[in-house]
């Protein structure tokens, strides 16, 4: 049985309402975000919850989509890390080239 199934079975109506309210606030906040991947995540989560409510997805399928989304976001974050590291290298080596080729050359000749 999925974790979602167990959670919903164990919680009473009041807790379910509290969870729904918190989800809605988070979703609304996410959709207002300027960072595209955050906005996209909020929109997808909302869509999948609707699909679950309509019965097009079951709890296990919903959970798998959420896990897949987590991995996609992690891949996005990694791609940004790679971009930053590469940029740092280009700038550092570019500075070295500038100093070695332009300034040192002029002083020594």
């Amino acid at each position: 049985m999925s974790n979602l199934n167990e959670l919903l079975k164990e919680t009473g109506d009041e807790v379910k309402d509290a969870i729904r309210k918190e989800y809605k606030e988070l979703l609304d906040a996410g959709k207002q975000e300027s960072e595209p991947v955050v906005k996209e995540t909020a929109e997808k989560v909302e869509q999948w919850l609707k699909m679950r409510a309509e019965g097009s997805l079951d709890n296990d399928e919903l959970e798998e989509l959420m896990s897949a989304r987590r991995r996609t976001v992690q891949q996005f974050i990694l791609s940004q890390e790679i971009k930053s590291r590469a940029h740092l290298e280009r700038v550092s080596l570019g500075l070295l080239d500038l100093v070695m080729n332009k300034l040192v050359g002029k002083v020594l000749t």
């Binding site: 997808k44 891949q75 990694l78």
Partner: protein, 147 residues
């Protein structure tokens, strides 16, 4: 005096770059990029082949065989990425993410013991395509990537 200043500036820059090496990452690798393309094709085909539809049939034995073959391809890509990586291990981490997803998809199929639903499959394929797109985008951001 001017020469002395230049020498100090060059030395400072060299120290900066040497220290900054820990902040750099492995350069672009064409084979690593090709691996992402090949793995994406394999992964999408797996999902499509085992999604409900006319003429589709569930076979636990066949799914296990497909998953084993896929597992080997991901392992090869992971081993290659690790061999080309530096301390940051960004190449290995990118492949590992996709490998974990493939493993999860295989486990899901075998746990349910039936074909994937069309609604789920449609949404999942969109997610997979995004994940692979980010992986390739990361590779193309590296120093030495084709412009």
């Amino acid at each position: 005096m001017k020469r002395k200043q230049i020498e100090i500036a060059v030395l400072a820059l060299l120290v900066l770059v040497a220290g900054g090496c820990a902040l750099f990452t492995s350069h672009f690798d064409a084979m690593r990029q090709q691996n992402f393309t090949n793995l994406q094709a394999l992964h999408e085909k797996f999902i499509e082949d085992y999604t409900e539809g006319a003429g589709k049939e569930w076979s636990e034995e066949t799914v296990k065989r497909v998953c084993d073959a896929g597992d080997l391809r991901f392992r090869e890509a992971l081993t290659y990425a690790a061999a080309k990586d530096d301390k940051a291990k960004t190449g290995e981490r990118a492949v590992r993410n996709l490998y974990d997803q493939f493993t999860a998809d295989c486990k899901f199929a075998l746990k349910r013991n039936k074909l994937f639903g069309t609604a789920w499959s449609g949404e999942h394929l969109k997610e997979l395509r995004l994940n692979y797109r980010y992986a390739v985008s990361g590779e193309l951001s590296r120093v030495g990537a084709p412009q």
